[in-house]
Symmetry: C2
Subunit: 338 residues, 2 copies
């Protein structure tokens, strides 16, 4: 029921996702009176779908705390319970991000050894793909949080991106050891001094994200959220400038016509819907958040991210990695983070 | 003497700047033995140039604290003294940023009413140009610092960008009042409750920067630095994808050939050298920092920024605005910032 164009967009997204993953089946949580007619329009989906009525819907602007108190009959809560009970292998929602995170933490709990889940997303880069986290689940973080994000990101890069030895770095204002605030310097010291089997490369700067300098970019939720959106805004700006430039003369319009297939593939590659689906890493269950404003194509991609997480057993990989650390526990911060 | 290609790049940059501003004259601080022969190669500049020998050079990786102790004979220090004595109207340097900021604060002092200077830069947007600050001078900021940045940014947008009623917002992870950390929420409350004559629009997100949603984007130096570089990296990524797309087939290469003038003007518009020159706002003197890796064209643009600041009397405008506040002093933070 979540998202600007729900529930129609969700149902159509599920149809698209099944075209790519024909074995996929769904449990749809929401208002039966709205969902049943939609399913009637998509007989190809109906047989792969179970409908579970949820009397309530979490509003886009509802406070997470009030959803925690009063949202037990909402589609969001019931869907997360479906994962908790093992009936569903993962959940995909385009609903209220804060509520999804709060209820997911409450219902699914964090993985043992992880104190705070983080929002992660796959970022297209000059060298392929990287993963960046946290993107907004944790507005303020201490050094230990960042170290945990590094562990989760490392496991994710192995499991989902298929990297054998992922490189990991902290996002900072400069590459030198003395740069930045106490928290990132402390986290860097912890990662350097720990026996964690992580290929830690120190600090990277904002421009290194899209350059693909490392496989895993670790940051706090405030900085990560701003940086991700700033990059999206820059891409949109660039593409609007390109459009006006190509429309500026008869000659350039002709050129654009000839280059249309090439420009089309560029547009496809940068289509934000293609990178839709942020992952809540660190929970005992697969939870993927779709952008609220997406369409069926974007939602299908978010479902694809969940399928990847499930197929690759990412959470088990994170757990294995945490367990493998064994003696090499994450060291406690040397000083209280300011 | 500062910058990867100094001092040759600086001298050539000065030549280029004089083509645009023929009345401009320079005092060059640095190693006379290196500068004199360079000037001999540029007789058109020699007559508009005074050479001041500086025995020392601040290394790119020198610590600001050690420059403060031992750098009094460096070109950086002597150039700032030139501004302090009134001999120069402003200074442009491609040298060590931290050292420049530290010595500038020490030699020039901050404007009365301003506790910390900030790094500002003009950002190209969908709607023209905006100014963003701080971009790295203050890694951690409290709410009052952000309010001061808002005042300085407002004055800059009036003086240099020519806005009559600049719109001002704080960079955050969402537009809603409850979003973000305590510091931005506190700063927003201060700006809303104050009698400051600022058109404060609340919060903007990362994607709003290039969209040009407001004229002045206010943030702490950590977030601002990461966001600015992330946007630069995204633009570089986009343009490299565009290049490969256009080279991908014979047909698209022909299209690119036809569109070449249009694409050239796009490249020019996004040329980072064109936006070279970050301003240290809040000092009693005009100080512009050029990117260390720039060339003569970029350095000439940084000189142009200083000329703009001087011509428009930006610092006087900031002072006037601070004075005009009079009774409407920046209110003290309601609680100690965490």
């Amino acid at each position: 029921m979540g998202g600007d164009r729900a529930p129609g967009m969700v149902v159509r997204g599920a149809c698209l996702a099944r075209e790519r993953h024909p074995d996929l089946s769904f449990i749809l949580y929401g208002a039966e009176a709205q969902l049943a007619p939609l399913l009637d329009c998509h007989p190809e989906l109906r047989d792969a779908c179970t409908l579970r009525h949820a009397p309530d819907v979490v509003a886009a602007d509802a406070r997470p705390s009030s959803v925690l108190r009063q949202g037990r009959q909402s589609s969001l809560w019931l869907a997360l319970e479906g994962v908790q009970s093992g009936e569903a292998a993962g959940v995909v929602s385009a609903g209220n991000t804060g509520a999804l995170l709060a209820v997911a933490k409450f219902v699914l709990k964090t993985l043992p050894g992880i104190s705070r889940p983080a929002f992660a997303s796959i970022i297209p880069t000059m060298r392929g793909e990287s993963v960046m986290l946290d993107l907004g689940a944790n507005i303020t973080c201490d050094a230990r949080n960042l170290v945990e994000f590094a562990i989760m990101g490392d496991a994710f890069a192995r499991a989902v991106l298929g990297r054998r030895e992922p490189t990991v770095a902290l996002l900072n204002v400069g590459a030198e050891e003395l740069k930045g605030n106490e928290i990132v310097r402390e986290a860097a010291a912890l990662l350097r001094e720990s026996a964690l089997p992580i290929d830690f490369r120190g600090f990277v700067e904002g421009n290194d994200i899209n350059a693909g300098k490392v496989d895993v970019v670790v940051t706090d939720g405030f900085t990560g959220n701003v940086a991700l959106k700033a990059m999206e805004g820059a891409a949109r700006f660039y593409s609007s400038l390109l459009r006006s430039a190509l429309l500026s003369s008869r000659r350039s319009r002709l050129g654009a016509l000839l280059a249309r297939p090439a420009l089309g593939s560029l547009r496809d590659r940068l289509d934000p819907r293609r990178h839709n689906g942020a992952i809540f890493l660190g929970l005992s269950g697969v939870v993927v958040k779709s952008h609220g404003g997406t369409d069926a194509f974007g939602f299908a991609n978010a479902i694809g991210v969940a399928v990847d997480m499930i197929t690759h057993g990412s959470n088990q990989r994170i757990l294995d990695e945490l367990r493998a650390l064994g003696g090499a526990q994450v060291p406690p911060p040397r000083a209280a983070a300011s």
